[in-house]
Structure formats: C-alpha cells, structure tokens
C-alpha cells in the first residue's frame, strides 16, 4: 500500500508550498490515453452545456493524477486541442454564418457560453494550473481558453471587422436618435477588453480607436453646422448637451477608460477648435454678452472653456480688450486730457466730463466687472488679475487721475451734497480705496488729498468729521502712518479753533479797543497745512487790519514764542451792503458802506434802497471795501491797491460782475472776454434780490488750472527727489557696498508703494549724493558704490 513506500519525498519551494513528487509507479500508456479521452469528453459535454451528470471530483482527481505522474504536458495539450476544436468547428460555423442582424447577439452568446465553460474547466484543472503551469511558465487554463477564442473566432472570417462595423453603426444610429439595444454593445466591449488578457489592446485596436476617430469626425462636421446656424450661447448649450450625451453613453456601455478619452476628443473638436470663433462672435460672443449683462451665458461659456488648455486665456484676452477699450474711452473723455497737438473747441471742451463723474463711472465699471467676476467667472484668479492689471493700465494713463480721485472723494465729503447714510458712506470710501490701490503715483494723490482736506476744513465744508476720520483710517491701513500724520495734525489744529475763539472773545471783553467788526481767526500750524508757494500779503482795509492786530496781540501773549502771519486765501467775510437804486442824475455814482454810517447823499432814489448782507471770501471783501473810498476803480488800480494776486482778483471780479445776475454786485465797463487793466468797475446800485443774505459764489475751477498743476507737479517732483535720496542712503547704509544696477532695483522696490521712480532720476540723485560725499565710487570698480559714514 501507499503507506509503506518511503520513496515519496517532499521538497519545499520558495514560498512554503510543498511539491510532491510522484510515486515511482508508472502509469501505463493505455491508462493515460484513456484518462485523457475521458477528460476531453467531459470537456465537450461542458461545452455543450451538458455537464449536469458529471462528477467534479472524478474529473478533478483524474487531472490531478495525470499531473502527479508527470503527464502534465500531455494533459495541457489535450486540453488545448479539445477547446480549439470546439471553437474551430461548431462555434465558428455558428458565428461566421450570421453576418446579419443576429450577428452581435450570436457572438455575445458564444462568448458568454465560452467563458462559463472555461471557468468550469479551469476549476477542474486547478491542480494543473497550480503546479504544471507554474513550473512551465505557460499560459494558465483560463487565459489559454480566451486566447483560443480570440484566434479562432474573432480573428477569423473578418469577424472583428464585421463586429466593428456593427458596433459603430449602432452608435451612429443612437446619435441620430434611434433607440438601440445597447446592452449588446456593452457585452461586446467587455469581451474585447477580456480578449486582451493582460491589457486592453484588443479593445483599443478593434473598437475604441475607430470609435474615437468616428466620433471626432462626426463632431467636426456637427460643430461646423452648429457654428454656422447658431449664436454663441446656443452653441455653448449644444456643446454641453453633446458632452452630457456622450458621457452618458460611455457610462452605459463603454469600457470605463474610454470615457476620458472620449471627453478628450469632444473637448478638442467642439471646444478647442472653435473657442476663438465663439468668443469673438459678432453680436453674440463674449463682448456682446458683457455689454448686455448676460451673466448666465457668460457663466456657461466660462465653465465650458475651463475644460480645455488655453480656453480661459482666450476669454481673458477678449475680456481685457473690451475692458480696456471702455476704460480708455472714459479716460479720454475726461477734461484736461488732450492728445498731442489737438486743439479742442469750446463745445468739445464743454462736453468733456468732469472729474467726479469720471471717477464715478470708473467705480461703476469696477462694480460691473466685479459682478461678472463673482457671478460668471467663479472668482477665477486669472480673470481677477487681468481685470486688475487692465484698470491699473488705463487709470494711470491719465496723469491727472490722482487729482481726480481726490476730487471725487472731496465731492462726497463736502456739505451740500446728497446726504449719504453711514453704510453708503463706508461703501463709497471703500470703493475709492479700490481705485486708490490702482494708482501708481500714490504720492501725487497724497498731495492733492491734503489740499482738498485743508480746503474742506478751512471753508467748513466737511459734511462729517467721522467720515473724514474713516477715510484717514483707511489710508493709514493701506499706506502706513507717514501718509496720514499730517492729516491727523490738521484735524488737531481744527479742534482747537473753537476754544481759541471763545478765549479771544473773553480777551476782547477784557481789553476793548473799539473794533468795528467781529473777527474769527483760525490758527494753522505752519508746515502741516498745504499752502500755495507764498501766501500773498494783501492790503487789508484798516478796520480789518486792526482786528487782526488785536488777535495777534492776544495770541502771542497767550503762547509765548510763537509767531503768526495772516493768510487771506481761504477766509470768508459777511459784509453789509446798501444798494440805493439808480438816481436820475448820477447813475454812475453809488456808495456802499460797511457797518456804521448812513449815506451822506440825499438824492431821492428811484426805488427803495436795499440792505443786503453779502457772504464773500476775504479777497472779495478787500476789493469791495475799496468802493467805500471811491465809486469807480480800474482793474489796474484794484491790483495795485489791494495787492491781491492777479488771477485771483480776476476771478473775484468775474463772479461779481460777469456771473449770474443774482450776484451782479458790480458793473463792468470793458470790451474783451477777459478782464483787462483798463476795465472800469462800479457798484451796481440797481442790484436787487429777494434774499437778504446773498452768498457770492466764485467761479471756481474745481480742478486745477494749468499753472496750478505745474506748480503741484513741481512740488511732487521735489518731494520725490528727497524720497529717492533718502532711500539710496538707507540702502547704502545697510549694504555698505552695492553695484549700480542692484542699487537701482532696490530703490525702485522700496518706493513702489508710492510711485515708480525713473532710473535716470535715481542716477542723478546718486551723482548728487556722491558730490555731497554721502557715498562714493569704489576705487577698483567704478560701477560699485560705497557708503561713507
């Protein structure tokens, strides 16, 4: 019996599996052949689905025994033979014979039956797989069966070609709207995938490749048609639908890896190829969508183009073109901008927008694009950055933008405008800050802003101290304390005025000098407040001079060591005026009085005399008071007498004599449009008004005149020279030695939050510092500078 034999040995293989070597007993040839035949017959039964009566154990045991007795090779070949014969014979006939409607089903059924049979066969031959196949490194049973099917069925009789044709036709039909039995395609695809055994090459070659190619051509043609017949947004929708449909198709019956390849094809043919055309489409492309505020269309377009390489670039480029064109137009239309050599006629000049509206329109434009960004472009960073750089570009194109921005804020913070509630105020300030950040010349803004704040405070035009402080805080957060130091000092000065005047009143009570007027003085710390180059020293009427001297005495008494000088530029005065109406014999003569003293004339007036109170600025007061001395003055005389700067004097006279009838206090005799030296001025006694208190408005230029602008620009340049020098010294002190180019780069970097320094400017400042021995050139290399302590 087996027990007594000791010939069997066990040897272990690498992974703990014991390999049993056969007993030395040989099986005789006849027995072997008999067993093989039995197994082959059993397989045939399995293939014919007649396996009901077979015993697994018996088949398995026989195969096992064969292998054990070293007949693995015979067994393997026998198996191969029977499988091959079955497929070559009845199956091939079955499949090859139905090249009609039933082809696909026949093939799928044959495959399904084959795989089922192969599973059973594999189970029975499990031992051979484990041992013989392992040793011989040949194809395992199941894969063997697959391979035979592939070679004997699919690769014969043009089955694979026919299969491809059928599958592609079915897909085409479904695309045309016909309902198909897509489960057949699913099974076929699964079969093709399986036939590749360790990869999907059969599937890819026999079906996927051709499928993708056909899909590509189909959609190439379809896209042309779509484009011709439809506008941009409809095209986008159609593409979305195609993508949805094909994705559904892929998920329903194609191999899972095909989906991404399919989407790739679609995106390429439907989107990448045509995106430029769609974006640029006349009347329906991106520009039209933005113009008409079609957010949903823009959003769909964005989502679609986001799928492909470069898609979003195409969109941002187009958006940028559109935005820039609008921005540049706005910039060109605002006053003060004229192109080289352009002469602007009065009508065009008048039609040009004022700065406040310009800024408002820019703010509105930014709002509009922020809305696009949020609702259509998903806050995409590339769009955000593009919008930002576009705004920076055209906003800074207008050299007067810093001034205009400050004017805008001035307009909103001034009294007499529509009252903004707290939220509106905050929102307006925030929006202004957004534009502020776009400025490359922030130092210019600083200068203008200071000027405007000063004006507001001095003329008492500020609508709310809180709002002013809010703005200062925002600027501080953005630019640091240095920016806002002076502004805060101005406010400090302002806060003292009230107390100062009360104390002065007490002083007057205690030291009466018979002043003919009430005077209020606001004291400004020198150096903090922006002033024009030199405060003009006008000639005050005696009563005013006396009043001021009295105040001066009080102030210098109270604050030892301080000196004050009068600045007449921004003061205001209330003066009493009497208009006598015209008289029959002397229509040229008239008088006006201040305060005390009735008229010494006793002619009967034609109409009742009118007493008015005029609210004027200081210069206007000075010149009007002259008319108490004499009834008539020429422009030249007024200039000499008052010492008021010419331009200013002209403006005052213009508003008094050439402006609105409601404030025509003076009559002018003169020829030209502009006031000239020989023009004569008299009081207009016929002046009448329903109001008792009349405010004389000056024809104010809201924005600067040319000479003023030049002056401010010069100041800015001066300041910049200092800032550049300070930066150079700072850097050199820290670095000790630095090459020229590196120094320029560092200086630019340090100053970039204020302005963009010109390399030439930096070079000149370096030279100047060398002259003044702050730095010197290195002896060995004259491109290198050294710090001199």
């Amino acid at each position: 019996s087996a027990m007594s034999r000791s010939g069997a040995t066990a040897s272990s293989s690498g992974n703990n599996r014991m390999r049993i070597r056969a007993f030395p007993t040989a099986m005789d040839e006849a027995y072997v052949d008999q067993t093989l035949t039995m197994l082959q017959d059993a397989i045939k039964e399995i293939q014919r689905k007649n396996n009901g009566g077979l015993s697994f154990e018996e088949l398995y045991r026989n195969a096992y025994t064969m292998v054990l007795h070293k007949h693995g090779e015979k067994l393997y070949n026998a198996l191969k033979e029977v499988v091959r014969e079955h497929l070559k014979g009845p199956i091939r006939k079955r499949v090859g014979g139905t090249m009609d409607d039933l082809f696909l089903e026949t093939l799928n059924v044959a495959w399904s039956e084959h795989t089922t049979a192969m599973v059973m066969i594999r189970d029975i031959f499990m031992y051979m797989d484990r041992v013989y196949v392992e040793q011989q490194k040949c194809e395992p049973v199941y894969n063997l069966g697959i391979g035979i099917f592939r070679d004997e069925i699919v690769r014969q009789d043009r089955v694979s070609e026919h299969l491809k044709k059928v599958l592609l036709e079915m897909v085409a039909e479904e695309r045309a709207g016909v309902t198909i039995k897509w489960s057949g395609i699913k099974s076929a695809c699964a079969m093709l995938v399986a036939l590749g055994i360790e990869n999907k090459s059969v599937y890819e070659m026999d079906f996927e490749g051709p499928f993708l190619k056909e899909t590509s051509e189909y959609y190439k043609a379809a896209s042309q048609k779509f484009l011709m017949e439809n506008c941009a947004s409809v095209y986008v929708k159609k593409v979305e639908n195609c993508i949805a449909e094909e994705t559904d198709r892929a998920m329903r019956y194609l191999d899972k890896d095909t989906k991404n390849k399919l989407l790739q094809v679609l995106e390429d043919v439907l989107v990448s190829q045509h995106m430029q055309t769609v974006v640029d489409m006349e009347n329906s492309g991106l520009k039209a969508m933005m113009r008409d505020d079609k957010i949903d269309d823009m959003r769909s377009l964005y989502l679609l183009l986001r799928r492909v390489n470069n898609g979003l670039n195409v969109m941002t480029t187009c958006m940028s073109e559109y935005l820039r064109s609008i921005g540049e137009k706005l910039v060109d239309e605002v006053e003060g901008v004229s192109k080289e050599g352009e002469t602007v006629d009065a009508a065009t000049a008048a039609a040009r927008k004022d700065p406040v509206r310009f800024i408002q329109e820019l703010i509105d434009l930014k709002d509009r694009f922020d809305h696009f960004l949020k609702d259509a472009f998903d806050n995409d960073a590339s769009f955000k950055n593009k919008i930002q750089s576009d705004f920076e570009f055209f906003f800074n194109k207008n050299k007067r933008s810093p001034e205009f921005l400050s004017l805008y804020i001035d307009d909103k913070l001034k009294k007499g405008q529509k009252c903004l509630n707290d939220n509106e105020m905050e929102s307006m300030l925030d929006r202004s800050m957004v534009l502020f950040r776009f400025l490359s010349e922030k130092d210019a803004f600083e200068k203008y802003y200071k000027q405007h704040v000063a004006k507001r405070l001095l003329l008492d035009k500020s609508v709310s101290d809180d709002a002013e402080k809010q703005m200062i805080t925002k600027l501080k957060t953005e630019c640091g304390c240095q920016f806002t130091q002076r502004l805060e000092s101005m406010f400090k000065d302002k806060e003292i005025w009230g107390t100062l005047n009360v104390n002065f009143k007490d002083y007057c009570t205690n030291n009466p000098v018979g002043l003919q007027m009430d005077v209020g003085v606001r004291v400004l710390t020198a150096g903090i407040w922006p002033t024009q180059s030199a405060a003009p020293q006008c000639v005050l009427p005696d009563s005013c001079q006396a009043a001021f001297d009295h105040f001066k005495a009080y102030y210098t008494g109270a604050h030892n060591g301080r000196k004050i000088t009068l600045n007449t530029l921004l003061g205001s005065a209330d003066i009493k005026a009497i208009f006598y109406g015209a008289t029959p014999n002397s229509d040229e003569l008239s008088q006006q009085e201040s305060e005390a003293g009735p008229s010494s004339r006793d002619t009967a007036p034609k109409r009742k005399e009118e007493h008015k109170i005029l609210q004027v600025n200081t210069h206007t007061m000075i010149l009007l008071m002259r008319f108490n001395i004499r009834p008539k003055f020429t422009f030249e005389q007024l200039k000499t007498d008052t010492q008021i700067p010419e331009r200013d004097l002209q403006r005052c006279l213009q508003s008094l004599s050439m402006g609105k009838p409601t404030q025509r206090i003076l009559s002018r005799k003169g020829k030209g449009k502009e006031i000239e030296d020989q023009d004569e001025f008299t009081v207009n006694d016929m002046f009448t008004s329903k109001l008792t208190r009349i405010r004389i408005q000056n024809i104010a230029n809201k924005s600067e005149t040319e000479p003023e602008r030049k002056e401010t620009r010069n100041k800015i340049d001066e300041d910049r020279k200092h800032e550049v020098e300070a930066a150079i010294v700072r850097i050199m002190k820290a670095r000790k030695n630095l090459q020229h180019n590196d120094l320029v780069v560092e200086v630019t970097e340090q100053l970039q939050s204020r302005f963009k320094p010109d390399p030439q400017l930096i070079k000149m400042r370096i030279e100047s510092l060398i002259e003044r021995e702050y730095i010197k050139r290195s002896d060995d290399n004259h491109r290198i500078y050294q710090y001199q302590a």
Binding site: A2, M3, A8, A10, M18, I20, I46, N51, G52, G53, L54, S55, F56, E57, E58, Y60, R61, Y64, T116, V119, M120, D123, I124, M126, Y127, R130
Partner: protein, 108 residues
C-alpha cells in the same frame, strides 16, 4: 431538524463529505470551503452532481484521512486570527503521509 439548517438546495448550511469507505461526514459548508477544491466544486458556475446534491464522494480518500481533514477545518476556523495561543494540530504519524497527499489534493 430546523435547528441545524438543512442539507438540500443551494443555500443549505451543511454539506456531506463521503469517504471511499462509505463514511459520511456532514459538516458546515463554510468549513468545507476552506478546501480550494471543495470550494470550486460547490460554488463554481457549473452544475455538477456535487453541487446539485450538496455531497461529494471522495473515491480515494479513506475515512481516517477524511476525518482528520474535517478536524483540520475546525482547527483552522477556530484559530485563524485568534487572540489566544494556538495549540499544535496533532497528527498521528501513521496518518501523516496520506494526510499530506490529501491536503495536496484538496488544496488546503
């Protein structure tokens, strides 16, 4: 007996293993499936006599071998992934060789 599940049908809980000398061992299917061969027999796609009747005739396994095989199934289930100490599985030396052959045959 309903307490033990039945032997019939594809969802049966038990299976009958019959040795060459006619001993029947009725054990839980889950235990028998430890053997790769028995597993293929009972749960493959094909309809063989084995899975139709839920019984397997081992024409070359004597009962003293099959008995130990069944014991092994119990041992394996009991001690696989167990926290406690695993005792040795005792094999009488006279059965060893045949048991070894059986294990090779049954793939377990």
């Amino acid at each position: 007996d309903s307490k033990y599940g039945n032997l019939a049908g594809p969802d049966s809980e038990y299976v009958r293993l019959v040795s060459s000398d006619g001993h029947e061992f009725v054990i839980k299917k889950e235990l028998a499936m430890i053997s790769g061969t028995i597993k293929a027999m009972l749960s493959g796609p094909g309809q063989f006599t084995e899975n139709e009747n839920n019984e397997v005739y081992f024409r070359e396994l004597p009962s003293h071998v099959l008995e130990n095989v069944c014991k092994y199934f119990m041992y394996k289930i009991r001690y696989t992934d167990a926290a406690s100490e695993i005792p040795e599985f005792d094999i009488a030396p006279e059965v060893a060789l045949e048991l070894l052959m059986a294990s090779n045959f049954l793939d377990c």
